[in-house]
């Protein structure tokens, strides 16, 4: 009944072609909550109205002609054709209109591209099919999945009416939290295939590409919850990896940061759990993380995703299974990064004792914790980097001062590729821990950082001499390295001044 009514309303709306603001029927682009999204909206409306105007003129002429110049009305065809003046006019006028469109479009494009002078950075990694968020300034790190209610309702023949699920398919378990009125730089990459991160209210989307870093920025005016979705086909569950951004006032954001850091510091609960508890809790972990590929019943998808039921891995050595789950293999992602020891123990025990398997054994969180790489959780740094701070490069600095300063410089500039603990991303971004470059000749390292190489950007023009020296000292004496040497800011400054100045837009 209600559905029929809505449908009728929709049809009536369409019949009148009304663009009225009906909450349930968004017909147009939304204005969004950032300056850039407003600019894009204005640009969109400008072009739309130009098109509507041209359409009225062209179609008006055509339909006038169709009505009046018909044989059934006795209209005799005139045989005119080829008129150079007319043809030149209808080439020049559109050209001028295009020039008129290009000017505001170019302005908006340049604004969209300008990630300079950001106040904080968040790294976004696309996974099949979830988002990973890392706050490069304070070390907060988490995965964001489709919320449980939507996940249940979206299963085929779930029997749940999506209309009863709040924010169906647009809700997550952990939203991205950002402060308002701050210029936030996002860096994007992906772990498996290409995804695209889109929140319409922010005004843009950006592709996340495995092995590459993309950048974009936003500055949200109004506190609120803004929802979006992955917009690049990324496989089976492309439709089920939404994005939720919660923008808060600075004070609320600070409180959230504090609370989140405290929770992270507590770490997972490593106490032993009973067999039944492991299995029953594991079912929920499985539904959220595994069922997309291995299917809810564990039967897998022949030819693509192996079955869990009767699998020789799941029914074989528990440690071997745990290692596979933790470290991934081929299309199987490394869940050691996404789930905590307790959840991992639960889901592994569940697969061994459900879904048609009955091995009868279990694995405890403690055993998992031992298999996980040494806890390299980035220390939460509350220091804020002041990007435009005036620095005195001539002053001598001690190794300790440089290393201390280097930590935040590293988090801002290097950690998105080389990772917070210097482990890199194997195959794409080299590890810094035990790297021959970082532990070798210091001048060679400085040269590489100043001028870049391949995908490594040239930092010579983007970092000031003190920050530059600080991050050199940090990489050589932290992240598992202990070379012991460092370089003074004054030496960096003289190298920088010898560099050719390029695109100096500071």
């Amino acid at each position: 009944m209600n559905k029929t009514k809505q449908l009728l309303a929709g049809l009536i709306l369409m019949a009148f072609g009304l663009g009225t603001a009906q909450a349930a029927y968004t017909l147009n682009l939304m204005k969004g909550v950032t300056e850039i999204s407003n600019d894009i909206y204005d640009l969109h409306m400008l072009i739309l109205w130009i098109c509507v105007f041209i359409g009225i003129v062209v179609f008006g002429t055509m339909f006038y002609s169709i009505y009046h110049h018909r044989k059934s009305k006795g209209h005799k065809a005139e045989q005119f054709h080829e008129n150079t003046t007319v043809e030149i006019i209808w080439t020049i006028i559109p050209t001028l209109i295009l020039v008129g469109m290009a000017i505001p479009a170019t302005k908006a494009m340049l604004e969209l591209d300008d990630v300079q002078e950001s106040e904080m950075s968040i790294k976004v990694t696309g996974w099949q099919w979830k988002w990973e968020y890392e706050y490069l300034d304070n070390g907060i790190h988490f995965f964001s999945n489709l919320d449980e209610a939507s996940n249940k309702a979206r299963q085929i023949d779930s029997g749940i009416d999506p209309r009863t699920v709040p924010h169906y398919l647009l809700n997550v378990d952990k939203p991205l939290v950002i402060p308002v009125k701050k210029k936030i730089r996002f860096v994007f990459t992906a772990a498996d295939v290409i995804h695209s991160w889109w929140v319409p209210d922010l005004g843009w989307k950006k592709d996340t590409i495995p092995g590459f870093i993309n950048e974009a920025w936003t500055s949200v005016d109004e506190p609120g919850t803004y929802r979006g979705q992955c917009t690049e086909l990324c496989g089976k569950d492309h439709a089920f990896m939404p994005i939720v951004v919660v923008a808060m006032e600075q004070a609320d954001y600070d409180a959230w940061v504090k609370k989140t850091q405290e929770e992270a510091a507590k770490g997972p609960d490593l106490n032993d759990q009973s067999h039944d508890e492991l299995v029953s809790k594991g079912a929920g972990v499985y539904a959220k993380n595994c069922a997309s590929c291995h299917m809810a019943g564990g039967e897998g998808v022949p030819g693509t995703f192996p079955a869990i039921t009767g699998s020789s891995i799941v029914t074989g050595d528990v440690k071997a299974q745990a290692e596979l789950v933790l470290n991934g293999k081929g299309m199987m992602p490394a869940f050691g990064k996404m789930l905590d020891a307790s959840e991992l123990a639960q889901v592994i025990t569940y697969t061994r004792n459900a879904l048609g398997n009955s091995v009868g054994d279990e694995i405890q969180p403690k055993a998992i914790q031992e298999l996980l790489p040494e806890g390299a959780a980035p220390a939460a740094s509350t220091e804020k980097a002041e990007p435009q701070e005036q620095v005195d490069a001539s002053a001598e600095m001690s190794l300790d001062d440089l290393v201390a300063r280097g930590e935040s410089v590293y988090a801002q500039n290097c950690a998105s590729c080389h990772m917070a603990d210097g482990s890199g991303m194997p195959g794409t971004f080299p590890a810094l821990t035990a790297s021959p470059v970082v532990t070798g000749d210091i001048d060679a390292q400085v040269d590489l950082m100043l001028n870049g190489k391949g995908m490594m950007p040239a930092f010579g023009n983007t970092l000031n001499a003190v920050d530059f020296a600080a991050v050199v000292a940090y990489t050589r004496n932290k992240l598992g390295n202990s070379v012991g040497d460092f370089i003074q800011p004054s030496a960096i400054q003289s190298l920088q001044s010898a560099m050719p100045a390029e695109d100096d837009d500071e």
């Binding site: 147009n28 062209v58 002429t61 002609s65 559109p94 085929i156 843009w204 092995g211 590459f212």
Partner: protein
């Protein structure tokens, strides 16, 4: 002596009639037979690709997952596109080219008749190979018709088959294109100078050059996918020093001209039909030729407007934005030309004209949204949403497909010698024209409101427009059965009214094909015509 001559003539007649039985269709080298094969095949593929679209619209009828698994849904969107592009629209235009180009330029056949036969059967092999992937372990390709890596490399057993199928389709298209170019350059009647050729011939000539330029590029891109998957190369894998975005650049260097392969012959047919029913010459023949050539040239230098969000340098974004906006100029020239051709004519509205007028209007709407999308910053909102889906379906369904329908109605009486049922033809038109808008217009709203493309399920605020769109889709799908009925009915005799040679009033002034009998004999223009009509110029 005279007996020898007589016997020789008798032999010739005997040898050159159509072969009896089904084998005729397998070994034929006659351009009319091969044209028919192409048209029948493409119509069959139109219904198969359409059935896939019906599955897509059924799943999207309501929020929630009702009928298919998301992976199969992705296979459907992928296969729907591949079948429609490579199985339906492109072969349909090749079929028209085979039938009409020799008859329009006064040639006895295509220049390379045996290759013509081979390119058709290779098309069949390619499409069947592609269709067979539906039944393979892991399912048909599900990465979208663009086959972007790394996702496409996750395809199951189907991947090498799909790639080999693309190779076959590419070879088939290239051979067809070579044939068309050779025919147009070498076999025109002496009086048929280049600037007297009907626009359908002109647009196909330009399209054929596009095909030769782009199909090897696509073949190269998919071969790189093949070696990445099976021979440990890393063209598109960052871990080995490659770049997934490189594939997108190569693909769209093929892909953008490819969409013009489907629209340029459409322009040609519209420019052929509208003057006949307006009883006026085309307003600007030479400017239409130049506009087509400009669009073809521009199509090669705008590819990255499909990739505004991949993270190009801002200079690249601006260049591709400006270059793309330029396409609006020659396209505008075309629309203004068609309008000026109708202006002060003496129009009648038989089914081919109805479809052609709907094409001009609805294609222009697709052009407007294209212009909107060329604006790079706005495209950061539009990209990969239903707004894009609406845009390219407006330029393909009520444009290319409508014009193929128009061409069918326009030339069926010539091909069969029978008039089709005008009443059912008009019914088919009105049902199609109304339902295609119910189907695709709401998708603009969905995209702007934030619905991404290629998703099997959606948030509930998108529910109503999706339902309306699906209803439009079902009506459109069912309406096309009327076309099938009309085609079969006309071949069988239609209304019983025999078609005259010129079929449409004064059509013989517009094209050589209307100076031939309806249906034309198996061999036509064995000697070139002395004069050619010039009314269309």
């Amino acid at each position: 002596m005279s007996a020898v001559v007589a016997e020789h003539e008798h032999d010739e007649h005997h040898d050159h009639g159509p072969q009896k039985g089904l084998l005729r269709w397998v070994i034929t080298t006659n351009h009319k037979d091969i044209g028919t094969l192409y048209l029948v095949f493409s119509l069959a593929m139109f219904f198969i690709g359409g059935a896939m679209a019906m599955i897509i619209r059924a799943e999207l009828f309501e929020p929630g997952m009702q009928f298919v698994d998301p992976q199969f849904f992705n296979s459907m969107t992928t296969m729907h596109a591949l079948v429609m592009v490579f199985g339906a629209v492109m072969p349909a235009f090749v079929g028209l080219a085979n039938w009409m180009i020799p008859m329009m330029i006064g040639a006895p056949d295509m220049a390379l008749p045996r290759m013509n036969n081979m390119s058709f059967w290779m098309l069949v092999a390619g499409v069947l190979l592609l269709a067979s992937t539906l039944f393979m372990e892991g399912g048909a390709p599900a990465s979208g018709w663009t086959l972007y890596p790394p996702l496409v490399l996750q395809t199951g057993a189907a991947l090498p088959f799909a790639i080999f199928s693309v190779h076959l389709l590419g070879i088939s298209s290239i051979m067809g294109a070579i044939n068309i170019i050779a025919t147009i350059f070498n076999m025109r009647a002496p009086a048929m100078t280049l600037m007297k050729m009907p626009l359908f011939v002109w647009t196909w000539l330009i399209t054929a050059f596009l095909l030769i330029a782009i199909m090897p590029v696509f073949a190269g891109a998919v071969t790189m996918l093949l070696t990445d998957r099976f021979f440990d190369t890393s063209f598109f894998d960052a871990a080995g020093g490659g770049d997934p975005v490189l594939y997108q650049h190569i693909f769209w260097f093929f892909g953008h001209p490819e969409v013009y392969v489907m629209i340029l012959p459409t322009f040609g047919v519209a420019s052929t039909i509208i003057p006949v029913f307006a009883r006026k010459p085309l307003f600007g023949y030479s400017s239409m030729v130049y506009a087509t050539a400009s669009i073809a040239f521009l199509s090669f230098i705008v590819w990255a407007h499909h990739m505004f969000t991949v993270g190009m340098p801002v200079a690249g974004e601006l260049y591709f934005m400006y270059a793309t906006m330029l396409i609006a100029i020659p396209t505008g020239v075309k629309v203004f030309n068609w309008t000026a051709t109708m202006w002060k004519g003496s129009m009648t509205f038989e089914t081919p004209m109805l479809f052609s007028i709907a094409f001009v209007v609805l294609f222009t709407i697709g052009g407007f949204t294209g212009l909107m999308m060329s604006i790079a910053p706005s495209d950061f909102q539009y990209h990969d949403t239903y707004f894009i889906v609406a845009h390219f379906h407006y330029t393909l369904v009520p444009a290319s497909v409508f014009i193929l329908m128009a061409a069918g109605y326009y030339w069926l009486p010539k091909w069969t010698g029978n008039m089709y049922n005008e009443r059912i033809g008009k019914l088919h038109f009105w049902l199609s024209a109304v339902s295609v808008n119910i189907l695709f217009f709401p998708q603009h709203f969905l995209g702007l409101a934030g619905m991404p493309r290629r998703i099997p399920d959606y948030a509930v605020q998108f529910a109503d427009w999706n339902m309306i769109s699906s209803i439009g889709g079902f009506i459109f799908g069912i309406s096309q059965l009327l076309f099938l009925y009309i085609v079969i009915d006309t071949i069988k005799g239609g209304t019983g009214e025999k078609a005259t040679d010129e079929v449409w009033e004064d059509a013989h002034k517009h094209g050589l094909e209307w100076t031939l009998p309806s249906p034309p004999p198996y061999h036509t223009f064995t000697t070139p015509p002395a004069t050619v009509p010039t009314e269309h110029i």
